[in-house]
């Protein structure tokens, strides 16, 4: 249930947007939701680093992140599907892994993934470290038979062995726990604070264009922030428990049918619990304009269409085209700036390749 104070705040916000008629729906949606009500928009923190994230550890993790030799064919690295030159994704409906194989879900962005309360669309990995273990041994991603096969390759390369020893101590060796520890440390550097939205929220009234401001007010007013509030616009605040969201809420919408958005049951497929049916992690919306196509199945081709889908599937609401445009303009205000990243040099086994397949 919505708390009274929150209800009053929602009402106050609704008075400030032109689409007052929407607000009744937003309040209704809030009243029947089991999720926590909107955490308002907040600037992204300037850092996601842990005190244990040393420069040497981050550099090791960066090499592993970019190393295609961690895949069975030597062709797919973390960066292949989570491309740091683009939106932290691959622009595909679903990723293409080794041997041209594809999976069922759209690759989420790695940018700001440190500000996600869990990883994967169904949240099955509680941490970045646990997430990094998955694709290495997924048949349709990096295709390794088991983590030992990954480690055998790394251990063949003297400079990698030396770097693990230098970062973790010479008694530790090369283990999967250390490898994902380093990758996660690198991923915690992949954040994009100081976007136009952040500057606006920090008091620079000129940082957003008028259409973006209208979009922001609409976004907050109609109820998007119910799930997409907080610093990463995903309803999660660092240190708190993640809450999952039902998607789609309104399954009979023609757009839900058109894009087959109800057949993947999300956490339901993972836990086989009735309460988890069609529950998904709320993804961050930061840099969302760079990560088309959209939704867990990647079937929605444009951001404008994704906005329409979310309005009908979550709020049972048809938006007019000006509202759609303003919301898209607002979402564009969450883009970058992106940190400059130098290409790592991947260590080699001199005169030999470690890829045999």
């Amino acid at each position: 249930m919505m708390k009274e104070k929150e209800t009053m705040e929602t009402l106050a916000r609704c008075m400030s947007v032109r689409a007052v008629a929407y607000c009744g729906l937003a309040l209704m949606a809030g009243a029947v939701s089991t999720a926590a009500f909107a955490q308002d928009l907040e600037p992204l923190p300037d850092s996601a680093a842990l005190s244990s994230d040393t420069v040497a550890k981050v550099q090791l993790g960066k090499k592993l992140y970019f190393d295609p030799r961690l895949s069975v064919t030597g062709t797919v690295s973390c960066n292949t599907c989570h491309n740091l030159m683009e939106g932290g994704d691959d622009g595909r409906i679903s990723s293409m892994g080794v041997h041209g194989l594809t999976g069922a879900r759209n690759a989420p962005t790695v940018w700001n993934s440190a500000f996600q309360g869990a990883q994967f669309w169904d949240g099955r990995a509680p941490t970045l470290e646990e997430q990094a273990k998955g694709p290495l041994v997924a048949d349709v991603e990096m295709g390794m038979a088991h983590h030992d096969q990954v480690l055998q390759r790394i251990r063949k390369i003297p400079q990698y062995v030396d770097e693990f020893a230098s970062v973790y101590g010479s008694d530790e060796g090369v283990t999967i726990e250390l490898a994902v520890d380093a990758i996660a440390a690198f991923e915690r550097t992949l954040i994009t604070p100081d976007s136009a939205l952040d500057r606006y929220l920090q008091g620079d009234a000129t940082a957003l264009m008028p259409a973006q401001k209208r979009g922001m007010e609409l976004f907050d007013g109609v109820g998007c922030t119910e799930c997409h509030g907080g610093p990463a616009l995903n309803g999660w605040t660092p240190g708190e428990e993640i809450e999952y969201a039902e998607f789609p809420r309104y399954v009979d919408s023609p757009l839900v049918t058109k894009y087959d958005l109800a057949s993947d049951t999300g956490r339901g497929a993972l836990t086989e619990e009735a309460l988890d049916e069609n529950m998904f992690k709320t993804p961050t919306l930061r840099n969302i304009s760079l990560t088309a196509p959209y939704m867990h199945n990647g079937r929605v081709p444009t951001l404008a269409e994704a906005v329409r889908v979310m309005a009908v599937s979550q709020l049972d609401m048809d938006l007019d085209e000006r509202d759609v445009t303003d919301l898209v303009r607002f979402l564009e205000a969450t883009e970058g700036p992106f940190p400059e990243i130098s290409l790592p040099r991947l260590p080699s086994l001199s005169g030999q390749s470690i890829v045999k397949d």
Copy 2:
């Protein structure tokens, strides 16, 4: 025919190496060869840039080089098979392109490709620009149906269109000739002068370790420099006509059979001329310790084995293991240093992906 002066020089060099017995064979090989005799080892020039290679052009070419959206699946960029984080290749027997397809030949390194007299193993592209056109539309590489499909994607992205206009003028539009012009300009920056070998050749007697010096003397003395002389150890001097080399010369060697090195007829398959049968471009040996596996078909797994293969297939010569080791140590002295490269930001079409397949 070897010229007398060259014969004398070879003899003089032979006197300086311990493997004097080899030298008769080297002289014989030279005497019967139609290829130009050894251009001695030379330092790599500090630049391969043309005066028209502006910073803006190089930056545009770099984006195109790293952009996987130039492949039909959005998964394969130039850098996928010519990885600048590694030896400028992919460490595979033959590259894996779109849909998991593979070709027949091993990916040559892009490092110092500006110092190759022609591109591809059979030299079918006379320039870097012509080379860059090939993989875009090769079924087993980037898989585009035709160059117009590549251009259609680039033209959809406003920032690319603006950058082409900024570099080439607003009347030029986005054409394949301009795209490969930019890619080639970037590739001309991918050079690795100042290796240990270069420093030695420039007078630093301490730059090579004793085993590397022995390897160098052996390399020159037995006749490797007959084909692998010049600044890039590929027998070519910038501005001169390229000469192709017969490979293998001694087809009956068990190693030639073991690795199936005679079935690909090289330029013969291209021109269908008897004179071109089994003629190949001599590849650069710079950074060769980073580009395993070896030979045009990628079947030779290690650099040591590649040295053994070349000795028997080209010089009809069995090397002892110390010689093999010294030659490998010498070849390692051609490694890097590599220029630091920042990851480009690839421009996007906001809210839409241009990859549909």
